[in-house]
């Protein structure tokens, strides 16, 4: 817990220092190609870019804690508003992806089967999910389903107001792209846990009682093996942030990830700082929650020295 605050400050300080490394005045950037040097200098002074770094940082921190994340250099709009508008898109993408990955991983790996072919195939799909870079998967999906077959649109977002079917048609490829990695990873974690669980006594008892394979698998084994997967969701939050950034960029989705990439491309410092901090803090938070959930659920490790 106490690790979070220094992390946040460290990262924001790092980001703030990037101003020094960035050449060119933000005012020139804001005024565009036709502006004159005098106007640029005047705007510099107005925004206080000629102040020392520490002073600027303190000012930013104070304002941020009051909910004022400043104004974007590129759109001149409130950063807090831009973040507020983008956050729901990313959250929806993340939720769909995790749900899909988790449920598929659990269900597919619980199905009892002795057929080696199926287990080998699932194992292969796992590896593919983990190692195919999400940008390659995304672009391949776009090429196949949008360009060649023309079944799906290339952009990943349409507002719900455009209709449920339209919305789903737009979001399905990004969700597939983002969830593929997690499907692979969750499968591995889940199978290991399932393997351990099925060796335990109570499963043997259930089997001895003569309960059907499927029932043993889904009603007895699975609920006990799920836990590590759930905590793993929290732990993989960091990777998820990266995955969302790439996926949103490929599919031009108006979420936090693309906002972040755009702010980096345009050196839109207020946005970059605010979004960067938001991502880091959320990820750390999710890791923390995952740790807590695991400790609560698993009494054995509460006493890990």
């Amino acid at each position: 817990m106490c690790v979070m605050v220094p992390t946040a400050l460290l990262v924001t300080a790092l980001l703030f220092c990037s101003v020094n490394g960035l050449l060119g005045s933000p005012a020139a950037m804001m005024l565009g190609q036709d502006a004159s040097p005098q106007t640029i200098a005047e705007l510099d002074a107005e925004y206080g870019f000629d102040q020392p770094l520490a002073v600027q940082y303190m000012r930013w921190l104070g304002e941020a804690l009051r909910g004022d994340l400043g104004r974007s250099y590129t759109t001149r709009q409130s950063v807090a508003q831009a973040v507020g508008n983008s956050l729901p898109v990313t959250i929806e993408l993340a939720v769909w992806s995790i749900l899909l990955a988790t449920s598929l991983a659990i269900v597919l790996n619980t199905i009892p089967t002795a057929r080696l072919l199926i287990t080998r195939t699932t194992a292969a799909v796992n590896v593919v999910g983990i190692t195919v870079p999400n940008f390659m998967l995304g672009i391949s999906l776009i090429f196949l389903f949008s360009v060649e077959l023309q079944w799906l649109p290339t952009t990943g977002w349409a507002p719900w107001s455009d209709g449920v079917i339209t919305h789903l048609r737009h979001i399905i490829m990004p969700v597939l792209t983002l969830s593929s990695y997690y499907f692979g990873v969750f499968s591995i974690v889940y199978r290991a846990e399932l393997h351990a669980v099925t060796r335990q006594m109570f499963i043997r008892v259930a089997q001895a009682k003569g309960l059907g394979e499927w029932r043993v698998a889904f009603r007895h084994a699975m609920p006990n093996a799920i836990l590590p997967v759930i905590t793993f969701v929290g732990i993989s939050a960091g990777q998820l942030a990266g995955g969302a950034v790439v996926t949103e960029t490929i599919f031009s989705m108006p979420g936090i990830g693309r906002l972040f990439v755009r702010s980096i491309e345009t050196h839109d410092f207020p946005t970059m700082l605010a979004v960067g901090m938001l991502i880091v803090v959320s990820v750390v938070l999710m890791n923390l929650l995952a740790d807590i959930a695991y400790t609560i659920a698993n009494p054995q490790i509460r006493f890990d020295p």
Partner: protein, 508 residues
């Protein structure tokens, strides 16, 4: 004296109406419908007094009118000013305004509004970027009566008409501007064919037909939605599905898959963007004229056109493309001659080659251009590195001198003085090359203060050749670009400033 532009304008108007007449006879415009315009939108404000970004003008030309407007051949036609007269000494122009025009908020449009608009731009406290365009020219504005306003100029200035058809000419409602202040940029009020309804930033702008628009019969459309695009190619996909009706800034490569489709119409621009390579010429190493000449002869402009434009652009020999009256085919730049380039490089003092940095703004066209330049220059011993520069930062680095060599591009203005002065006059505010030639300054001053077209043409031909010879920049190409529309969209025509106009567009 009646001035030449007036006569020309009259002829153009007659000729123009014949063309329009032809088109009109083919089909009668239908009213109604919504037009979805796809735009890579970097708009920051829709307040014309502060507007700087290229894409903002798409909306500005719909919500506002200008005092005069550009015809498709860049000649000047009446708009809010229905006629004008220039005094014999050329220093006073009296504009007669249209009657019965009101702003969307009910404020009447009259001479007071015009005076207010121009003075706001001239006011140092307002800090409008247009101030240094108008201040050297305008001495004062005089109201003669509600429909007539006089511009008293510091010197004869034919260039003012070009300015009054662009940003400085957008007439803003004084009442609304004073009431809304900084918020006016998000709720602009003008006299235009469309009222500004809503702006969802990062998403779209909604414009609705202005019911009492003063140009009778216009507009045909009920509504225009300007939808943000992440890029032109993404926009292309949406055009194909019918989500949007127009997408612009397409390169010749982008349109290859479109050529077979019957539901899409391509609209090539008439006058291309000017691409050139520029240097800082008042400091080492590029103050060395032989070095720059070596660069010039090493560059194969034809090949650049063939590869980046599929041959559909034109090789540039100077700042002006064919089709504009101040173009002259006699203006020639330096030919592709790698052997000569190598020899010059040695003469310039670099027998073992020369290393330099070429700024690469992260825009596809510049990236392609830079890589081709690097390849061509490497062949004569000039080794370039191409560090990427964020597109938004690039220009400020050029301005403050961090970058001393960069590709550049500009769109044409309706008056030759527009581009040539800001780029090549010693005091030009966009003269990032730090180029200074007193003869050029003198010629430009002469040319911008006379209304006689043949004289101006002669002067501009001379000065352009002089600039080309001095080589503060090496001209490369004029681009070929396309707008693509769904085939049921009619009435679209390009103006050479590359801003798409939709006022007179209708849907079949």
């Amino acid at each position: 004296m009646t001035w030449d532009i007036g006569r020309r304008e009259a002829l153009a108007a007659i000729g123009g109406s014949l063309l329009l007449g032809n088109a009109a006879r083919a089909e009668t415009p239908q009213s109604g419908g919504t037009l979805n315009v796809g735009l890579v939108n970097d708009a920051k404000t829709y307040d014309p007094i502060y507007s700087v970004e290229f894409s903002e003008r798409v909306v500005l030309y719909l919500v506002f009118n200008t005092l005069v407007k550009y015809a498709p051949d860049f000649s000047i036609r009446p708009e809010l000013a229905k006629s004008w007269e220039t005094s014999p000494d050329g220093k006073r122009i009296v504009f007669t305004l249209q009657d019965g025009v009101t702003f969307h908020d009910g404020t009447p449009f009259n001479a007071d509004a015009v005076k207010w608009n121009i003075e706001k731009r001239l006011d140092p406290a307002v800090q409008s970027p247009q101030r240094n365009l108008l201040a050297p020219i305008i001495a004062s504005i005089e109201i003669l009566d509600p429909q007539r306003v006089a511009f008293n100029l510091t010197q004869p200035s034919p260039g003012i008409f070009s300015l009054l058809g662009d940003r400085p000419g957008f007439m803003v409602s004084p009442t609304a501007w004073q009431k809304l202040g900084k918020d006016f940029g998000g709720q602009p009020v003008g006299t235009g064919a469309f009222k500004f309804k809503e702006w969802v930033r990062g998403s779209q702008v909604t414009l609705e037909k202005s019911p009492n628009y003063w140009e009778k019969g216009l507009p045909y459309l009920d509504r225009i939605m300007v939808r943000d695009l992440a890029g032109s190619v993404v926009g292309l996909q949406r055009l194909l599905t019918g989500e949007i009706d127009y997408v612009g800034e397409l390169t010749p490569s982008d349109i290859v898959p479109l050529e077979r489709r019957t539901d899409i119409v391509l609209a090539p621009i008439k006058v291309g963007r000017w691409y050139f390579l520029q240097w800082h010429v008042n400091a080492a190493p590029f103050d060395n004229a032989k070095l720059r000449l070596a660069f010039a002869h090493a560059i194969d402009r034809g090949r650049i056109n063939d590869i980046t434009m599929r041959g559909k652009g034109t090789v540039s020999n100077g700042p002006t493309p064919e089709g504009l009256w101040w173009y002259d085919p006699s203006i020639r730049s330096f030919d592709y001659d790698p052997a000569k380039a190598k020899a010059l490089l040695t003469e310039a003092g670099y027998p073992n080659g020369f290393d330099a940095v070429l700024a690469t703004p992260q825009v596809t066209m510049f990236q392609q251009l830079d890589q081709l330049l690097q390849e061509q220059l490497a062949a004569v011993g000039i080794r370039l590195t191409l560090p990427p520069v964020a597109a938004s930062e690039w220009y400020s680095k050029v301005v403050n001198g961090t970058t001393n060599m960069t590709p550049s591009r500009w769109t044409q203005r309706a008056d030759p003085d527009g581009l040539l002065t800001i780029l090549f006059d010693s005091k030009g505010f966009a003269n990032t090359m730090k180029y200074s030639n007193p003869q050029v300054d003198a010629l430009l001053q002469q040319a911008r203060t006379t209304y006689d077209i043949p004289t101006r043409k002669r002067l501009y031909t001379e000065v352009q050749q002089m600039i080309v010879n001095d080589l503060p920049m090496m001209p490369l190409i004029f681009s070929a670009e396309y707008g693509a529309l769904r085939s049921n969209v009619r009435g679209f025509e390009w103006i050479p400033d590359q801003i798409p106009r939709f006022r007179e567009v209708w849907k079949a």
